[in-house]
């Protein structure tokens, strides 16, 4: 028989594990020399994207369908959490020749 305190802790851990979505991942997408890589990324709702801008230029990751618009100052990393599923084409508003696709599973 477990002491009552231990039982409570175990219960709390278990319910915690159930409440948090399984395997929320962090995915890196790099802007370097005006190229987005990887150009195609697959992720899930709840995952975090780490947008790494290695350039001396400001960039954005702007979804064509309006789902997100992330601003990246020069030489900075910003993060955003994916909220909506879908296949989203995005580009840089300042340099529209920078294009990529993010496929977000529910």
């Amino acid at each position: 028989m477990l002491p009552r305190r231990t039982f409570l802790i175990v219960t709390a851990l278990l319910s915690g594990a159930i409440a948090v979505p399984a395997h929320a991942a962090t995915i890196q997408i790099v802007m370097d020399n005006l190229v987005v890589s990887p150009a195609e990324v697959t992720a899930r709702v709840g995952d975090t994207i780490e947008w790494i801008n290695k350039d001396i230029f400001a960039h954005t990751a702007t979804a064509r369908n309006g789902d997100f618009d992330v601003a990246m100052p020069p030489k900075k990393t910003v993060t955003s959490v994916l909220k909506k599923a879908g296949t989203v084409e995005y580009y840089c508003r300042f340099h529209p020749n920078m294009r990529a696709v993010l496929t977000i599973a529910p």
Partner: protein, 173 residues
């Protein structure tokens, strides 16, 4: 070879009515000077647009031009310093500067939506011409690998600016 050089000169001519003497290949110090001058010209045009533009997308575009061209020119200066290359003034740079000063004066007389349209139209033509010159003449002529690589970055950047300008122009109609 002759055809390609002619095309490049035509692009530069469009840009500033300049032609390199006898189709001679520009040297690295000359290329550095031409590329730097091309950036300075667009920064000046952008600064004028920030004060004169009435459309918010045109103004934001101009701010982007000043930001990007100043950043890339700073990188160019760092590179020539590192390579111990002294940018060399030349007829192409001189003609570019002269033509740009004339264009700035011409745009300076316009106002409101008329100015916005003329500025963006000139930005499209200007970036197109610089891209042509980079692709067909400046990049192939550059002998230093780091200079060549910076010019290649410049080409991608300028191509991005051209597309951005085209988007803004489409929104003005």
């Amino acid at each position: 070879m002759f055809v390609r050089l002619s095309a490049a000169i035509a692009a530069l001519s469009l840009l500033g009515g300049a032609a390199l003497a006898q189709g001679a290949k520009p040297t690295d110090p000359q290329i550095a000077h031409i590329a730097y001058t091309a950036g300075v010209i667009d920064v000046a045009a952008g600064k004028q647009a920030i004060t004169k533009a009435s459309n918010k997308d045109v103004k934001a575009f101009a701010e982007g031009m000043v930001r990007d061209h100043e950043a890339v020119n700073k990188q160019a200066l760092d590179l020539v310093k590192k390579l111990k290359v002294t940018p060399e003034d030349n007829d192409t740079s001189k003609t570019l500067s002269k033509q740009a000063a004339d264009k700035l004066a011409e745009l300076g007389k316009l106002k409101g939506a008329e100015y916005d349209k003329a500025y963006i139209a000139n930005e499209i033509a200007y970036h197109k011409a610089v891209n042509g010159a980079l692709e067909t003449l400046l990049i192939p002529s550059a002998s230093n690998a780091e200079l060549k690589s910076l010019l290649q970055t410049g080409l991608k950047l300028f191509q991005g600016h051209q597309q951005h300008a085209e988007h803004v122009a489409a929104g003005l109609k």
